[in-house]
């Protein structure tokens, strides 16, 4: 399959500027990375509503809390590695616990950060965010969905973590594809096995489904953009109807999307399952595609996992 590759960050910047025009309660914070996260677009359009906090993510999150407590809808952005781990206490105490209207939109997540290496490749942010009560976790699948996610979460009044990448990603949805928060999107129907992906891995799942089709295997593909709250209904239905599940994520297999799905299925409908993701190790410098290959995030990895699951099906 050939994809059009587009930037999620660009759409984030575009959506923010539109929101800024539509609503005066939107304020944006960044921590000296606005040209990378693309909050700079908002900063140029609405300088009085943009606050650069410098390289001080903890300060940024608590400042966001004060703004949100005063009626503002706050978008706070930086790289995912700094926007989750470095200010975890601030997110816990001042965003999640008081359930404030703050959207942490973090870019440069995952191993596709590439050359910067393990220090910048956060592969545990979904895990960190999803264990926080009151926090929703969304991983937009592509540039189109990123735009829609931003416009949608701006209408909510509670904390949301949105994870986007640095690199351009395959466009797998249309501009008109509706986005429904909290509702997993079935991208392809199938009855033999279910491939559940999030972010860039959804495109790999679609490629894997094509490959499996060549061998007469009919795979369902689900875009699980909202990891919390989890759309258990769609997941359990897929498990029931296909009898086997593979998850694929650009995140550690420890406590990410695959773990969320596994926990759901263990309690609701037990089927053979395999998680494709980064093993419990740190990444390293390299080109995106090299890293995806080395750390087990390819179409072939998903196909292999699907075969394994199919073998274990009764």
């Amino acid at each position: 399959m050939t994809w059009k590759w587009e930037s999620q960050r660009e759409q984030y910047g575009r959506a923010l500027v539109e929101l800024g025009k539509e609503r005066s309660d939107i304020v944006v914070l960044d921590a000296d990375l606005s040209s990378s996260t693309r909050t700079a677009d908002f900063a140029s359009a609405f300088p009085e509503r943009f606050f650069n906090c410098g390289i001080a993510e903890q300060n940024m999150i608590d400042t966001a809390a004060g703004l949100a407590a005063s009626g503002k809808t706050v978008f706070a952005s930086t790289f995912a590695v700094f926007g989750t781990g470095r200010c975890y206490d601030q997110i816990r105490q001042s965003v999640a616990y008081p359930k404030l209207n703050i959207k942490i939109v973090a870019s440069h997540a995952g191993i596709t950060v590439g050359g910067d290496g393990a220090s910048h490749q956060i592969i545990e942010d979904i895990a960190l965010m999803r264990v926080l009560p009151n926090m929703a976790v969304i991983v937009p699948v592509d540039s189109n969905e990123t735009y829609k996610v931003i416009k949608t979460v701006a209408k909510t009044e509670t904390p949301v973590y949105v994870r986007i990448g640095r690199a351009d990603v395959p466009t797998v949805t249309d501009k008109d594809t509706p986005f429904e928060m909290n509702k997993a999107k079935v991208m392809r129907d199938g009855m033999d096995v279910t491939l559940i992906g999030c972010g860039i891995m959804v495109s790999k799942c679609l490629e894997a489904a094509e490959e499996l089709a060549k061998h007469g295997i009919d795979a369902r593909v689900i875009n699980l953009h909202t990891i919390k709250p989890l759309d258990e209904k769609t997941i359990v239905k897929a498990a029931r109807e296909t009898g086997g599940v593979v998850t694929a994520e650009e995140h550690s297999v420890m406590m990410g999307m695959g773990s969320a799905v596994a926990m759901c299925l263990v309690e609701n409908f037990h089927v053979p399952m395999k998680r494709v993701g980064i093993p419990d190790v740190f990444g390293e410098s390299g080109a995106c595609n090299e890293l995806m290959e080395k750390y087990g995030l390819t179409m072939e990895n998903i196909v292999e996992a699907a075969h394994d699951v199919l073998k274990r099906k009764k």
Partner: protein, 279 residues
Amino acid sequence: MEIYDGEFIAELEAVAKRVRSHSITMIYRAGSGHPGGSLSGVDVMVALYFHIMKHDPNRPDWPERDRFVLSKGHAAPSLYAVLSEAKYFPEKELETLRKLGSRLQGHPCMRKTPGVEMSTGSLGHGLAAGNGMALAAKLDRKLYRIYVLCGDGEMDVGETWEAAMLASHYKLDNITMYLDRNKLQLDGPTEKIMSLEPLADKWKAFGWHVIEINGHSMKEIIQATNEARGVKGRPTVIICHTIKGKGVSYMEGSLHFHGKAPTDEEYKQAMKELGTADQ
């Protein structure tokens, strides 16, 4: 001027005494809490809620209200006692501190307690949160002011200084920070655990207007706050020299009562000293 009126000051001092008594009673009944740090900041909080701040206990979410953030969240008992004295909730409710199902959590929770502006407890967050409120006030062209009470132990926290820079950078003259300089933190004297001095010079270097006062003098608290209101283009810190455990002789300057409830005997003694032995 009313504020220098002796009788008026005496009224504030009487409220402060009741707040101290409530605080100790609450901690005694709960069997845990932080009496020392609760008592040292009482006078600032009483001056704020009973003289300085515009607020309305009947409308805790009144948009024009001044905001108070208790950054040193472990002083929650005295904040609750002040809020109760100010009629945000009945005095009877103070008995529920730290009890299951209570609106009065061990550390302040803005979602549970009427009048609490920010959830705090993990130290070093309050000033940054206050800055966010101050930025919002400027954006909305509102005249309300933000008051933050920090402990001196919080000066160890890196984020305090990040927030100090931000307030100064954005010229937040609508925020005033009271620094409860009781010179003791959990493990010992601040200067032994992590040297803070020269503290005033540090704040000056960060671009703040600095005032030093006796933090137990109502008159000085009010005068300093008035001075802060007049300062344009930069934030003000009022370093309040205080005594940890102020008001109960055996708690004053004592490390022992940083985070420990009084025994039955100690409680009786405290009530005697605070003039509420009959209650």
